[in-house]
């Protein structure tokens, strides 16, 4: 690996900013935000436990970019991606007009006719670049309001070169009766895919957004830096399900933050199944009066995958409540660390952290550091953790009914995760279970 200096990296980023500004026909205010990111890049701290500063600079400095065939409709998708959608039953579901679908590749989003019709009712799903042009006032008020580029080099880099992502807007009172699907694909090596997602759910709305992250082409050392800012207003009822299934060489740094309004509900489920290199996330949630947030993490760690999940919840309103729960199946030499923190800052707020892990090998590693901070008298905060191996008695019970060790183990692992796989559409569950079965068989 050739080492490069930060000055060179800044030049490359500056060039990328100009390219993106021109490609997106971006208004000047947005380009200024990008330059703020560039300015912050040098000063911001770099504290990533896996990617060193040299590696990060290397990701940035990738000299040539290969041409990506332009993808305008679902028909233009690479065959692997189409096969995946077929497996998930998405195309079929779409035909039956019960689901919205937006697919993002490295540079563009494909979205279907169906969503355009829903736009009339007040559902906006747009590529972020287009939203910047069409709804500048709204985007200005919501873009990068929950993050600062000075927090970290990753946040600064994202700010400078963000590309892709969606803007989801749900008009007051609108209840979206079908889940919205969004896919990410990484097709190009050493490029940071940095989608920016803004979600605004007005009062009394309901929606379910599913992000399926995958990478059909095995690329080396790709970096995925997505940033999500969710604004849920009074009594909004929102679900965000993120499915991550990355190949071995992808590093992901999902950055999710959400403001949960009075009486609003946010169910955020993340399923991490792949054998990606590392996944470091520290989502933050600010919860108002009677608001509720549930963060569910489902992790299948394989090979030398390194997962470090934070999760800060600030219970700021009376009777606000939050749950941070994770279930991890840890195989091979993978490491899973969870460190959720709940701050109770208002009367009668309630928070709970739970962490369960199933260790599948002697070299698998789990660490958990729950944090509970009570800043008021009458908050209720609790945590529980259970880390262990498959019980011999459980395995024997299933085997004594005729299942071999592999099938019995698969059943136990699926069962361990099952209670947390609620609110995931059946077609994904089938896929998730298949991935778990394959991983268990591969690990035996």
């Amino acid at each position: 690996m050739n080492t490069i200096e930060i000055g060179e990296a800044k030049e490359i980023i500056a060039q990328e900013i100009e390219n993106l500004a021109e490609r997106n026909k971006e208004p000047e205010w947005m380009t200024r935000i990008r330059y703020k990111g560039l300015e912050a890049f040098e000063k911001a701290p770099h504290s990533d436990p896996v990617i060193s500063i040299d590696q990060l600079l290397h990701f940035i400095a990738k000299p040539e970019t290969a041409g990506i065939p332009e993808i305008k409709s679902l028909e233009d998708l690479p065959p692997e991606m189409k096969a995946l959608l077929d497996r998930l039953g998405i195309s079929e579901v779409e035909q039956r007009y019960i689901a919205g679908l937006a697919v993002q590749t490295d540079t563009s989003i494909i979205y279907n006719q169906f969503l355009k019709e829903w736009e009339k009712k007040g559902l906006i799903v747009l590529p972020m670049e287009e939203a910047v042009r069409r709804y500048p006032d709204i985007i200005k008020r919501h873009f990068l309001k929950m993050f600062s580029p000075y927090e970290s080099k990753m946040a600064a880099y994202h700010t400078a070169v963000w590309n892709g992502g969606i803007f989801l807007y749900v008009k007051e009172g609108l209840k979206v009766p079908f889940p919205l699907h969004l896919f990410f694909l990484i097709q190009e090596s050493s490029l940071a895919q940095a989608p920016h997602i803004i979600i605004i759910a007005e009062k009394n709305t309901e929606f379910h957004l599913i992000e399926g992250c995958t990478s059909p082409v095995l690329v080396r050392h790709s970096l995925h830096l997505d940033m999500t800012e969710a604004y849920l207003h009074e009594n909004a009822n929102a679900k965000l399900t993120v499915l991550q299934n990355w190949p071995e060489y992808v590093h992901t740094r999902p950055m999710t933050r959400a403001r949960i309004g009075k009486g609003a509900n946010f169910l955020n489920t993340t399923v991490t199944l792949g054998s990606g290199k590392s996944n470091i996330a520290n989502p933050k949630y600010w919860v108002s009066e009677k608001g509720y947030v549930e963060l569910n993490g489902i992790i299948l760690g394989q090979k030398d995958f390194y997962v470090d999940l934070g999760g800060e919840m600030y219970l700021q309103g009376k009777n606000a409540a939050g749950i941070n729960a994770s279930k991890a199946v840890i195989m091979d030499e993978s490491t899973v660390i969870t460190r959720g923190i709940i701050y109770a800052q208002a009367p009668k707020s309630k928070g709970h952290i739970s962490c369960d892990a199933l260790l599948m090998s002697d070299t698998a590693r789990m660490e958990t550091y729950p944090g509970l901070v009570s800043q008021v008298d009458d908050a209720e905060l609790s945590h529980e953790a259970a880390i262990g191996k498959i019980k011999e008695e459980e395995l024997f019970y299933l085997m004594s009914r005729g299942l071999d060790e592999e099938k019995a183990t698969q059943l136990i692992v699926k069962g361990f995760l099952d209670p947390m796989l609620k609110d995931i559409p059946t077609e994904f569950l089938v896929e998730i279970r298949k991935i778990i079965e394959l991983a268990v068989s591969g690990g035996m």
Binding site: F396, L398, S400, R401, G402, K407, L411, I412, K414, F416
Partner: protein, 257 residues
């Protein structure tokens, strides 16, 4: 035609001089037992005499190590087979303490079991399970619960019997089917045991109290008494009454063991 039942047919299970240890402690110290096809055998004995170890060793529990002796089933030696191979040959155990399996739904588990053992396709298996479950007082929605999780003693034992009814083993081992069970469950369990026996399943029933035997016809089974890792007495079913009356200690004293 009890008589022909009693004599049984071909030998189904032969246990020869079985010596078993667990955690380096010898528990079975030379057990011999023959069960013929279609026969019903009851094993009784005081706590710690090795009854449950015998049952679990026949089923292939990895905790129990066979140091000497043989288990022959249906003409072939199974002493070292894994538990799933034993059930494929026709041995099923109904546990004293059926394990909770969090997250695994009864229906999905049993569908997979029937598919694995009998090649029944999943949709047919579903219907069959729901149908057979009624007799054991399980409603369809109960079958969507996790295996044994939050179950009462009676529910657990009834679920074990449901599995026996579905799997239809050649030999059913019942480890204390009467412990921790309410009266109503006990009567439905004993009816099912009789039904299975009448349909040709051989039975090996382990019991401490003999409570369940009051629900069964003593002329249909023979009884063995275990003491300190060995079978020390084998008698006809009527002997149970004497055990109930006198207790193990007195009986052992009378025969001088």
């Amino acid at each position: 035609m009890f008589y022909s039942l009693y004599l049984g047919g071909e030998s189904l299970l032969q246990i020869q001089n079985l010596i078993v240890t667990a955690e380096n402690k010898q528990i079975l110290k030379g057990v011999n037992l023959d069960i013929g096809d279609g026969e019903f055998h009851v094993v009784m004995g005081p706590n710690g005499s090795g009854k449950s170890t015998l049952a679990l060793t026949i089923a292939g529990h990895p905790k129990y190590n066979v140091r000497d002796g043989k288990i022959i089933f249906d003409g072939s030696e199974i002493t070292n087979l894994p538990p799933n191979e034993r059930v494929k040959k026709g041995i099923l155990i109904a546990f004293q303490h059926p394990e909770e399996v969090e997250g695994v739904r009864i229906i999905e588990f049993l569908q997979q079991v029937l598919h694995e053992l009998k090649g029944i396709d999943l949709a047919d298996a579903y219907d069959l399970i729901v149908e057979k479950a009624k007799d054991l007082w399980f409603k369809e929605e109960d079958l969507h619960r996790y295996v044994n999780v939050g179950f009462s003693g009676g529910e657990r034992k009834r679920l074990e019997l449901l599995q026996a009814v579905l799997i239809e083993p050649k030999l059913l081992i019942l480890d204390e089917p009467d412990s921790g069970v309410d009266v109503d469950s006990l009567s439905v369990i004993s009816r099912k045991i009789e039904e299975l026996h009448q349909n040709g399943t051989s039975i090996l029933l382990i019991t401490h109290y003999g409570r369940i035997l009051q629900h069964l016809d003593p002329s249909s089974f023979q009884v063995h008494v275990m003491k300190n890792g060995k079978i020390v007495m084998s008698r006809s079913g009527e002997f149970v009454e004497e055990i109930e009356e006198k207790g193990f200690q007195k009986i052992f004293e009378e025969v001088g063991i």
